[in-house]
């Protein structure tokens, strides 16, 4: 139904997180930006976590082998359908013989392409999401290559045409402010380091993977002897190894780790982690856990009006 001709830097099939297997060391995976995935799925009549394409830095092209209904969200520069500009955040009805091209992106990092009824993918440990390190889910657990043929689960044609309301379209910039809570080992930071963590600007490191992103800035010195016992970590955890450069963990986050957990990105802003690109400016805004949950409820309410009508 869709044949990949250029996968770009890394394109994978991603859907729901692989919940409930962390005690076997199996990470969540799933869309790095779960909100953009949900928005794409909404436009093609799917539920929020159906399997879609996650494209990294754009530069993706595919031939359409059969009529299908798709939508593109997340980081966008230009979308071309057989050479003609097409809108993001809009249901697109493609015909057999069309080709779709997603240009390289300059803001944000990941683009989502959903098809009506979702893409077929292998299920492993309760999810179809691709986890590359262990080759789980997706298409043979690997990133997509030119020539890969993707099929939809059911009929890929949907007759409705929707647009994400303007007020619900995330805007990506090269400067992000992320709400964050203190975590289990924040107290290992002295007053000056703690102030730095929650008030100064960091830059995203060069290796922005689905596992984690380094926060480059003034280095921190948690009062730790490097002998901490390995403890649970999650997407959103900010660890600080002895090098003093904190690392924020993303959707493919390891399940346990032994570096001090100095902060945790609030649930309401975790979807933004998937859009951090190397060099982006990042500031953490400290919230109490209860305030952060209120922020989540507020954001959820706003989004659900569109996502779950």
């Amino acid at each position: 139904m869709l044949v990949v001709t250029k996968p770009g830097l890394q394109a994978t099939l991603q859907g729901a997180p692989r919940l409930g297997y962390r005690h076997f060391g199996i990470p969540y995976s799933g869309a790095a930006d779960a909100l953009s995935l949900a928005l794409a799925n909404r436009l093609v009549g799917n539920s929020a976590t159906m399997t879609a394409l996650e494209i990294t830095f754009g530069g993706f092209e595919a031939d359409i082998a059969a009529d299908c209904t798709v939508a593109v969200t997340g980081a966008i520069d230009r979308i071309l359908i057989s050479g003609q500009s097409a809108p993001a955040h809009t249901t697109l009805h493609l015909k057999a013989g069309d080709c779709i091209a997603i240009s390289p992106v300059i803001r944000g990092c990941r683009t989502y392409l959903a098809v009506s009824t979702g893409f077929q993918a292998e299920e492993a440990f309760g999810s179809t999401s691709t986890y590359l390190p262990a080759q789980l889910g997706g298409l043979n657990g690997r990133a997509l290559k030119a020539g890969d043929r993707l099929k939809s689960v059911g009929s890929p044609v949907w007759t409705e045409t929707l647009e994400t309301p303007k007020s619900h379209r995330p805007v990506f910039s090269n400067a992000l402010a992320l709400r964050a809570c203190a975590s289990a080992e924040t107290d290992l930071l002295d007053e000056a380091d703690r102030k730095c963590l929650f008030e100064e600007t960091f830059f995203a490191g060069r290796q922005a993977t689905r596992m984690g992103v380094a926060l480059i800035g003034r280095t921190l010195s948690p009062n730790s002897d490097g002998q901490m016992k390995s403890a649970p970590v999650f997407p959103g955890t900010i660890q600080c190894p002895p090098s003093g450069t904190p690392v924020v963990l993303l959707c493919d986050a390891q399940t346990t780790g032994g570096y001090p957990r100095i902060a945790h990105i609030a649930r309401c802003d975790q979807h933004l982690l998937g859009q951090i690109r190397p060099g982006d400016q990042i500031r953490l805004l400290e919230r109490s856990p209860d305030d952060a949950l209120r922020d989540y409820a507020e954001k959820r309410k706003l989004l659900d009006a569109w996502l779950m009508p």
Binding site: H23, T255, Y296
Partner: protein, 206 residues
């Protein structure tokens, strides 16, 4: 009567309980998986984290009120599983520095590592990565200051008296002492994990 545990909030959507031993952590996590309306319950070596959906904060907090720390795991009785390790050299690039830090010859280190019976305490980090206890107190080695971006699958590391086996290729922060051919994770097997908590292990030098 075991003491009640006081939950710490380590994120807006995560509670954590501190316990004393890996066995207590495993037992408590198993109980919490039954009683707490959580999205995920994950044991560390001396703590258990409970991640919950934001709408469930109060129910989870209530469920945590009545739990206590008790080790209900039973010591493994099955004979130890043998794991061959090729120590040092390219396979264990940190063996020399680890031995220097411990003031031991590499032979003495390998002898000590292979003579003991070790115990799998926890699976975590990445699929199949096993935390294996059994090194004596004086073998405490810190993690690397910066994790390595690429550790080959099968690499064996030591840290804080644990031996860890990297089941998959990926980043890692433990000093590496050797490598094994044993496959700790086979995604498509009925039993995907070679090791499980409680299992005893003997290492053999290849």
């Amino acid at each position: 009567m075991p003491a009640r545990l006081i939950p710490t909030r380590i994120a807006d959507d995560v509670f954590e309980l501190q316990v004393r031993t890996p066995g207590e952590a495993q037992s408590l996590a198993a109980v919490l998986r039954e009683v707490a309306p959580a999205e995920d319950v994950v044991a560390g070596l001396d703590r258990v984290a409970i991640r919950f959906h934001p709408s469930r904060a109060h129910q989870v907090e209530r469920a945590l009120r009545d739990v206590t720390a008790e080790n209900k795991t039973t010591p493994g009785t099955a004979p130890p599983i043998e794991i061959g390790i090729s120590y040092g050299g390219e396979n264990g690039p940190d063996l020399t520095s680890v031995c220097e830090a411990l003031n031991l010859s590499t032979d003495a280190f390998i002898a000590s590592h292979t003579q003991r019976v070790h115990t799998v305490e926890m699976i975590g980090f990445t699929p199949g990565f096993s935390y294996i206890s059994g090194l004596p107190e004086e073998f405490s080695v810190p993690r690397l200051a910066s994790p390595r971006p690429r550790v080959p699958a099968g690499s064996v590391g030591v840290s804080t008296r644990f031996t860890g086996i990297y089941a998959l290729h990926g980043p890692g922060g433990w000093p590496l002492i050797g490598k094994t051919d044993a496959k700790l994770f086979r995604a498509n097997d009925k039993n995907p994990f070679l090791l499980t908590p409680g299992q005893r292990v003997k290492f053999r030098a290849l």
